[in-house]
């Protein structure tokens, strides 16, 4: 009785060793097939250069308490509503801050993903809230659509009228 029990234990011990021998290659196989996440290929990029013309004289610009920031922006889609604007916010392209109280300005945005941009213009941040932005002038050439090609610079011209900002969300007819 005791001998057979010891024999069974011996067989189990041998099984454990066998399992070990099987488990290590299995784990290597499972984990070693790939290295998991890896950086994606860099998308081809181009650049955007633009000029901004302001309808108002500097004296007629909004006061500083409602002019916290002013930037060129471009989106690869036309937002249908506010929620849509945040659908893929990290695809937003922004310029550096534009100068305040001037009659015109220029901007240049480098390393912009090469693709079509369907909705772009100049946006004003009107309070300290990070998300309190409104468009004050849109790029309207070629139906508002422009292409950034790899290694090339897209040229834009935008007119800003603080008193008559384009509607947001943009109406289908307007676009």
């Amino acid at each position: 009785m005791r001998a057979s029990a010891i024999a069974r234990a011996g067989r189990l011990r041998a099984s454990l060793v066998t399992l070990h021998r099987a488990l290590v290659p299995a784990a290597l196989l499972l984990a070693g097939c790939d290295h998991g996440l890896e950086p994606p290929e860099a998308p081809p990029v181009g650049a955007i250069r633009g000029t901004v013309t302001y309808v108002q004289d500097p004296a007629q610009w909004p006061r500083l308490d409602s002019l916290r920031d002013l930037r060129f922006f471009a989106l690869p889609f036309v937002p249908r509503d506010t929620l849509d604007l945040f659908r893929d916010l990290n695809q937003l392209v922004f310029s550096e801050r534009l100068a305040f109280y001037v009659t015109g300005d220029t901007f240049f945005v480098d390393n912009v993903e090469a693709r079509a941009y369907l909705y772009s213009g100049v946006a004003q941040q009107f309070s300290d809230n990070l998300l309190d932005w409104r468009p004050v002038g849109l790029y309207e050439g070629a139906g508002g659509v422009f292409l950034v090609r790899a290694g090339q610079v897209a040229e834009l011209a935008i007119t800003v009228d603080f008193e008559r900002p384009p509607p947001f969300p943009p109406s289908r007819a307007a676009r």
């Binding site: 945040f86 990290n90 941040q125 809230n129 990070l130």
Partner: protein, 740 residues
């Protein structure tokens, strides 16, 4: 309450007898620290350095005396105790490798055998903690079947998922007392005395019927060490480095990524008894980590102590306390998968919210307790707790900013519990508990509004009846009533029942049925945070408690084979329902995130676990598989951030001489669905794949000295445990232990 306990103590006198004896192992060596108890009573004693024990003031009668110790098969002997007589009873315990004879305390708020616990329960032993160089709780839990870590959230059988800094859906206890951080009800992973942990018990499934809020998906109880018979000093040194990442694209974006990133630390502890009545241990640990990503450096220093005083064999005072200091950078989200080692920025133009913050944290805890065994059938325990946290953001030069710009919080409270055995086979546990959270934070309202302290008092009463029938069926019924004062005008009330049954089919084979409910009251952070520094978040005072209901059928088998190899298998089928799960949601009108009660969900599945070990602990194998079918009933689609398959395997063994090795492998399938709101803001946040991680170790032990080399993530697998943060890459650790 403590004074009351002292006053009552001397009343426990009776006409009695005594049982005494000695406990040895098979080789004849004395075994200190063995628990010797009279079954069906709360009377017992622990053996001293010479293996001797003495149980006094035993009412005359017939008893079964049980001796048990971790790592040994428990033994039972009948004894009849006449009035005024001394009965001598010696035991010889056989060493075992598995946890059959282990005593666990979390399942029923009292000591019981692991094999008889009527719930799914896993135990992490100190040996496992030491071998794997575990320095924080999250590292320990990664190896437990059915448990998945999602950065700062413990996910037991899919209960938590990942919810961006909601409070923990798993309750953390330290020696049975709640220890969730008072500010966000999260788990303070690094601020725990891991080096002094005797074992970690993980209860899978809701535990609110015994423990109240927070135990939505499970309970984790860290049981700290008691005091050794002989003075004991331990020193552990460890150091290592994260290997430079494989991909040049990642390295090129951060200048320091080309060199190994070091980390290291030490733990020193001393434990001893002072005579037969006093004991204590003191532990000091330091850890420095340069981090494997930019803005992830961390320094931790913690000191913990535990003091025990036993003025009589039936009285025990214990005081557990600690202080932790941590200065760290927190990496919140990456700058896309092409730049995974740098924190990102939220691209709103103008003011930029950054994917990192840094702060200094002080955490204090004082946990006194008192236990009085009034008679063989009645005992009570009084416990109080104070956990306080001070968080200060750091200036660019690392200087802490004033506390007024950070967070100050405290959780304080206490509980009283009685354990009563009215007749043999019946066990009643009942008690009351009261806690309060008081937190003041600059994140709780816009900066221009004066800060108010936020309070959330909690009160509870609970009771549990355990009945043993036919010597093989254990029935448990429990009920707890909690009230939470959400604000001065609103009180949340919750009745949490539980029903369990454990039927011993044959020796070593137990069938269990479990039903239980859980709930979690949203943390002060979820309700009151109103801040736009990192992500725009607005408060929600209308948040309601989350609730869960669980049903489980389980089968546990323990099968020793000729005393040489022990096997243990556990199979569980479970169905968990969740109501009003809190998740952050982007609110367009507010242009900000808000924590809202969003989801009704169902998680059903099965879990299978198997362990085998030789009696000399020379070889040990552990396998665990969990299948989860997690469904969002509100949206009728898979629940976010839940893996469908979890698999864990562990193998360790002795090679030759003092050399040993260990391998741990864990796999989690990619979640079926991810949160889309977060992905709107953070580049590539929707990138989350499977987890396949192998850890390997090689160690040698010679007398009081141990040396180990650990290679974590040995196969250099890159993965994320939560969105937009890369998990640690391959890293090597060298560890030296010295025990005096």
């Amino acid at each position: 309450m403590l004074v009351l306990g002292l006053c009552l103590a001397p009343a426990a006198r009776a006409q009695t007898g005594e049982v005494r004896g000695a406990v040895h192992d098979e080789a004849g060596a004395a075994l200190p620290g063995v628990n010797v108890v009279l079954e069906g009573t709360t009377m017992g004693a622990a053996t001293d350095a010479e293996g001797r024990y003495r149980i006094e003031r035993i009412p005359p009668g017939a008893y079964v005396v049980r001796a048990s110790a971790i790592g040994f098969r428990r033994e039972r002997q009948p004894a009849t105790v006449p009035l005024g007589a001394v009965v001598t009873l010696d035991f010889v315990l056989r060493e075992v490798a598995l946890v059959e004879g282990e005593v666990v305390v979390t399942a029923s708020r009292r000591e019981q055998r692991f094999a008889e616990a009527p719930v799914s329960l896993s135990v992490v032993s100190p040996r496992e903690l030491e071998e794997r160089n575990v320095v924080s709780l999250d590292e320990a839990l990664r190896y437990v079947p059915g448990v998945q870590m999602a950065d700062n959230q413990i996910n037991i059988r899919g209960s938590s998922g990942f919810s961006f800094n909601t409070g923990s859906r798993v309750l953390l206890l330290l020696d049975g007392m709640p220890l969730l951080a008072p500010d966000r009800e999260g788990i303070p992973y690094e601020e725990l005395p891991i080096s002094q942990v005797e074992r970690i018990e993980v209860v899978k499934g809701p535990g609110s019927a015994l423990y109240g809020g927070g135990a939505l998906g499970g309970v984790i109880n860290l049981i700290t060490r008691d005091f050794p018979e002989a003075p004991e000093t331990r020193l552990r040194l460890f150091g290592g480095a994260y290997e430079p990442v494989r991909y040049a694209v990642w390295r090129s974006a951060w200048s320091e990524a080309d060199a190994p990133r070091p980390f290291g630390g030490f733990t020193v502890s001393h434990a001893r008894r002072f005579g037969s009545r006093f004991g204590g241990w003191l532990s000091l640990a330091y850890r420095a980590d340069e981090g494997y990503t930019n803005f992830r450096a961390e320094r931790d220093l913690d000191a913990f102590f535990k003091l025990g005083w036993r003025p009589q064999t039936t009285l025990r005072f214990a005081l557990l306390g600690g202080w932790t200091w941590r200065k760290s950078d927190s990496f919140l989200y990456w700058n896309g998968l092409r730049d995974a080692l740098n924190p990102g920025e939220l691209n709103f133009g103008g003011a930029i919210a950054k994917g990192t913050n840094d702060n200094q944290v002080h955490l204090f805890s004082v946990l006194p307790s008192f236990t009085h065994v009034v008679s063989g059938a009645f005992s009570y325990a009084l416990k109080t707790r104070l956990v306080a946290v001070v968080i200060q953001p750091l200036e660019d030069d690392g200087t802490p900013k004033p506390v007024s710009q950070g967070t100050v919080g405290a959780r304080y409270g206490g509980e009283a519990q009685v354990n009563w055995i009215p007749v043999d086979g019946t066990h009643v546990t009942a008690g009351v508990a009261g806690d309060a959270l008081l937190t003041k934070s600059s994140f709780f309202q816009p900066k221009d509004v004066p800060q108010d302290a936020r309070n959330q008092p909690e009160r509870a009463v609970f009771a549990q009846l355990e009945q043993r029938l036919f010597d093989r069926l254990d029935l448990v019924a429990g009920l707890r009533y909690d009230t939470y004062e959400i604000d001065t005008a609103d009180v949340a009330r919750k009745l949490s029942p539980k029903l369990n049954a454990a039927l011993t089919l044959v020796d070593g084979l137990t069938l269990r049925l479990a039903y239980g409910q859980g709930f979690r009251v949203p943390s002060l952070g979820e309700r009151f945070v109103d801040n736009r520094d990192f992500l725009p978040i607005i408060k929600n005072l209308d948040l309601r408690p989350e609730e869960s209901t669980s049903y489980e059928v389980g089968l546990r088998a323990l099968a020793p084979v000729a005393g040489r190899v022990l096997t243990q298998a556990d199979l569980a089928l479970f169905w968990n329902g969740f109501e009003r799960l809190v998740e952050p949601k982007f609110i367009p009108n507010e242009q900000a995130f808000q924590f809202v009660n969003l989801t009704k969900a169902r998680i059903r599945g099965l879990e299978a676990a198997f362990e085998a070990a030789t009696d000399d602990e020379g070889w040990r194998l552990g396998l665990g598989y969990t299948f989860l079918d997690a469904h969002d009933l509100t949206e009728d689609r898979p629940l976010v951030y839940r893996s469908r398959h979890l698999f864990k395997a562990a193998l360790s063994g002795r090679l030759f001489g003092p050399l040993s090795f260990g391998l741990d492998f864990r796999y989690a399938s990619a979640p079926e669905r991810l949160d889309s709101d977060f992905s709107r803001f953070v580049r590539d946040a929707e990138t989350i794949g499977p987890t396949k991680v192998l850890d390997a170790r090689l160690g040698a032990r010679w007398r009081h000295l141990g040396l180990a080399v650990l290679l974590k993530n040995a196969l250099e697998y890159y993965y994320v445990e939560r969105p937009a943060i890369l998990a640690p890459p391959r890293h090597v650790i060298v560890q030296l232990h010295v025990d005096f």
